[in-house]
Subunit: 364 residues, 5 copies
């Protein structure tokens, strides 16, 4: 079922309300899950973490802690989104992008706020992505995900926060944002590994017993690689954009880390390109093997026909009914003492000559 839905996603474009609608109008899918809010507020010594039931719980945390990370899963409630928009001063165009899934990855500055939309791999065969939106402010990070899922890509970051190891707890919200983006990008590596195995299996299949269904599988892989490329390609630009921001919310050290992130994205794209070439190669190998099998079949047909047609002709000749009594010229062979053995011998000779010819042509 998840696959069917994923499949549907591949062909359908995102429908953003009626064309010509007022921009910044929040359109919410009726089936979208209601938002589940989870907040982590911390400084170097203390960390508060809880599910948020009422939005009023948040301002005191903002006042008490230098960094507040609010994660929202699902956009099923317009009121909540609007109140978040007011509380954190989010631009309505940005909010519209948050709820309109299938946005292109992008990074945009709205005054002091940095807003980015990032795709997160959600299923692999076919490959689909979910949209993660992130706002980075002076003292907070907001992340929006399409739906709640146990063990999302941000879990390791939560664990690192809780354990208080590394520089994460002592650094500001910029470093937290970096850590989240880094976790998201790293989540593509297992996807790539899955592709590696999938292509290896396909290569094995094509070389041994490929049939029409292999072609379909190859095309599916190509399609998925295309989707992957479409997701990851703009990430490169996004990361460049983030680093170049005027009044950057990132300090020099964090920018070094973002450069590292950028390298990972380039590395992912390198793999995608390589895999795309591998897939093209698979198709060619399949085509070659098909035409080779065709050749094999034609050879067998030709050998058999070429062998038996002359033989049958000889048999046909001696099956003619010319009247031997009328004339000594009429089929005297039929009356020879060794007529039949000679005829069989002739046939054998012809057959051997033809086989020699085939061998000469390297068909046998």
């Amino acid at each position: 079922m998840a696959t069917a839905r994923a499949k549907r996603k591949q062909f359908r474009t995102y429908r953003k309300g009626a064309p010509g609608q007022s921009p910044g109008t929040l359109i919410i899918d009726v089936d979208a899950p209601r938002p589940a809010l989870h907040v982590i507020a911390y400084d170097q010594r203390e960390l508060v973490e809880r599910d948020v039931s009422a939005l009023d719980e948040i301002p005191p945390l903002l006042a008490a802690f230098p960094v507040v990370w609010l994660n929202i899963d699902g956009f099923g409630d317009l009121t909540v989104l609007r109140r978040l928009g007011e509380m954190f001063n989010l631009h309505r165009l940005a909010l519209e992008d948050v709820v309109s899934v299938h946005q292109r990855p992008k990074a945009e500055a709205y005054g002091e706020l940095l807003f980015t939309v990032l795709p997160m791999p959600s299923s692999t065969e076919p490959l689909t992505t979910e949209q993660v939106s992130l706002f980075l402010g002076r003292s907070f990070v907001l992340t929006f995900q399409e739906e709640e899922r146990p063990g999302d890509v941000f879990s390791p970051v939560r664990d690192r926060l809780r354990r208080g190891v590394g520089t994460l707890r002592s650094a500001g919200p910029g470093y937290l944002a970096y850590a989240l983006v880094d976790a998201l990008i790293d989540s593509y590596f297992p996807v790539l590994e899955g592709f590696g195995e999938r292509l290896e299996a396909l290569e094995e299949e094509v070389l041994t017993s490929g049939d029409a269904s292999s072609v379909r599988r190859i095309h599916a892989a190509r399609h998925d690689l295309l989707a992957l490329r479409r997701a990851v390609w703009p990430l490169r630009e996004v990361l460049t954009e983030i680093q170049r921001q005027d009044n950057s919310p990132f300090d020099a050290e964090t920018r070094l880390h973002l450069r590292d992130c950028h390298d990972h994205v380039v590395q992912i794209l390198d793999f995608v390109e390589t895999y795309r070439e591998v897939v093209s190669g698979l198709l060619e190998i399949y085509m070659t093997s098909v035409s080779n099998r065709m050749n094999e079949i034609m050879k067998v047909l030709t050998i058999i026909s070429t062998l038996f047609m002359p033989l049958s002709f000889i048999a046909g000749v001696y099956g003619m009914n010319f009247d031997r009594e009328t004339s000594p010229w009429n089929m005297p062979e039929l009356g020879w003492y060794l007529g039949y053995p000679l005829a069989l011998g002739l046939m054998l000779g012809v057959a051997l000559a033809l086989l020699a010819f085939f061998r000469h042509r390297k068909w046998l």
Copy 2:
């Protein structure tokens, strides 16, 4: 009929009078509908809307309202166009572009005026576009469409103006121009969705029962995608151009919205590229299925030939007329007590051996 005309449009280039003609000469298609003018003038409190029968009605509106939107459908009357040119100070090269449909999308500054030519999707199979021209001045917006059509892409904007909701009524002509461009670009999304369904149907068809007509349909889809790309591709540049204009007629907030528009265009192009790859894949799948069917046919032919040729040969041998009375060596088998059953048995044996060979070769 509409399709035939659309088809014709694909292959024909636009004919702009005779070569070497004086530039800025307005050439009007004799079949072009006479212009129908519709004006909407508004400020934050009041909105006047009416069909314009005499051009003299317009200057008072320009004087009374901060924003006047004049929409002209059809260019069948040279006098009207010339007088509009004088009234709004439109450059004659721009006016020539307005009436010469099949212009490339573009944005150009003529002094204070911003002039853009934009393609609007008008039919989908085959895909054609109509040309919309827009002039943005200090206090007015002019839009030109090829012909009047009920419920055009600008209707939702008109409705929003009438309802007075959103920022539209309080903002200036720049925001109105943005809203119109946005509505036009959004009108491509339903077209994309149509493509999605069309390609899904084609994929279904190719996988089950594709024949030569499928190829033609695939090529038609490719052709339409090409036309779509040709229409949308320069829009990207147009929007960049509009945003970069010196003395921009757009305020900072509107420019944020134009950036959003630009994102939509990029998203459309992303889909077009994906669809183009899907179409290429469909052609390959078709080719594969054709060659697979060919292989099937050849296999059947080969199996039948290979099976019956040896059998017929055996029958042929025992149909020879060698004279058994002349010599005991001449076809003694014919006189054996079990000669016929043995011959049939030999045939059966050969047939079984060949079937085993076919099974070994995995042809059965």
Copy 3:
């Protein structure tokens, strides 16, 4: 004959004297027609037009009129060219380019002079171009064409000058140069239309009765489109170059017109690209239809073989000569009362079964 010469042009490169020759050496094709000079000198009130027999006629015109347009058809006389070079201060490298046809389109500044080389379509199937060179000075325009032809692309400009309508007579030599370039570029539109019709005809042909000669025609069209693109592509750069010139000989208004010209070139290239894709599509359609016909033929062969081989085998069996008198086991069917009808019935049964099989496989 014109076609044969045009054909030859496609494969031959231009031969500029011996390699290593002194640059600026004027090499003249011995068959080149002798130059025919035609001058038009004008100001806003007066226009003088005449064929020039002696070069001495020109300086007085230069002194008397603000704009002098001298058109030279053919380069068959070295002396004339050299004297023109001295009179108008033309650089010898530029003059070398004038007489060396098959130059790449380009625009170059030689001091105050602007020199451009432009290709003009001269035949369409195969497509060839002739070279037009244009010098623009403070008070004159020189145009060089390969040969004299009645009704060349500049005729409409001459007519407009004579009629004195438009801004042409009142504007300077820059505007005249623009008008000539515009006329030349507009002359590509009929060529494009011709291509449109040619491709429509080819598509019709391929879909109905394409044979090997269609492929040749498709390739010819592709070749011509390539030649067209090669001619027009650098024009884009040329027009950009002309507009960007320091100390531009063009005023602001003329530059607006040149921008318009530039748009036309881009539009032509758009069409060329579209046509190139159409041609690729035609080739694929042809390939598909060939392989479909192949499939059809194979099907017929397979059906016939598969049908008659078993039948012939049955006939062969009952044509065997086993001695029925020796044994009751030897072909007793031959002696049955209904032996022959039963044999025919068996054949009919086999044939019907095979036909059912073909129908099942959807081959009939």
Copy 4:
């Protein structure tokens, strides 16, 4: 075995710990060999070279010599790496890159330190690379290799240092770093030569006796060229980056040498591109030869069938059993005096006519 491991490397992506892990965490492959350290410290007069067993040996050398080159083979010991990091002030992100093999080649500045990651060819069929990391500081060069190997690419540089010839001994660490990079890049030339021979052999094979395994070999070569390109392509950028560094650690003379290095990389890429085209050509030649052989086979089949079918038909006609006694119209030929020779003559005539037809069609 080395090949199997190399093969595995092609399809697998590098796995950098769990996604979301703290950046700069050093993850060490449990199978990685323990580091073997080798130091060369020199000035113009003296050179000290030894294997390092305790890291404490290094600071005195740093104090005593202007240039210290420390080479580390293998990263199997975390403690050693951490202490090196502290001693030379290496950034933890850089150290993470050192141990995470399969990094993209890159050059990065960390304050005064220049850090580059470079791929070194390690096996050729399939082509794999090992990662070499190099740190260049004010008075030292650190190089990291994945494992110790006798006669690595740096050996010639060591020899030149020991011999003390050339400018190497008198120049600073920048020149040493250049020499190492140069040696590494030069090590691609033998790889390229190997490719040249491999492709020559493949061409020979395809032209004489290519079968399906040739296709696989061609694809392997293509895959390897792709891997080679992927390794070398970013080197170009790396070398540009190194030269452009602010506060460059390289003097003017060394930068001339780096420009030379850059040329070599471009030259390698040129060869790779040429080889890629050669490989594409090989595939096409193979395809052509396959379809030629198919044509050959079909010709033989057609000739044989076309020859013997009419002959067999004639024989079949005279094998019919119409009752000659009932009617003079029933097969009177059978009773002719020369019936049989005439029948054979007819067959011969038909055969000769068909052979003439084949010769006319140029099939023989």
Copy 5:
């Protein structure tokens, strides 16, 4: 033999000593011819030209003349090269490039000296190039060629110097360098013409009687075009580089000429691209003609099989031996008065019906 050597050149990369060797080491091919030096020193009035046997002859010429051109053919003597290096202050990296043939074309500044490496076409089928190196100093030009050849590309320049015509004698070393580069680039035009004729011949061949050897010839042409492109492509950059040099050794007039040179290179590349497309077209035409011939063969086979199988079947039926005496139902046709003529008539009828079917299918 020259061809075999040229062939070898295509696949082999240049081997520059052992990897890791000291840069600037001059490695000399043991088979390289010993250098032959030829000097031309001139001013506007006087010209001295002679073969140089001792290098001491050169300094006096340098002192006496404003321009000295020393041409060196062959690098077989290390001492000479080293002494030239000292005399003209040539950088050792540049000297290394001189003797390492198969360098990429490039232009580099070493202080006041301009150094360029240029490829010169040396054989055409297969296409190979030789390397020409040129140093341009304040008062001298050095040119290095791989071997001495009578009538090299520089001969026309020598002749122009000797004749003293043109500006060559009065201009400085910059203009001489330009003249040499121009002569070298012009030498590509005859090569292009050769390609034109070669492709015309190939097209003729493919259209009339193409076989597998045509494919090989087409691929050889493609390979040569690739080699040509690889040689000429970087020349463009080289010429741009030369023109942009700071402290350019070229005066304004010479730079105009270099711009002209640059145009020629672009023109050559244009032709190469066109030829590459022509070659691709040839391959497609060949493929089409092969599949057309296949279709022809299949048609003949099908027609013959379809025609004779039913006829042979009828003959087979009347060759069955059912016992007419046992039953009146057993093959009564055999006893009919007109049985045989009727049977022949039936066969004729079937044959005509089938021929009508073939004609209907347009196979005849």
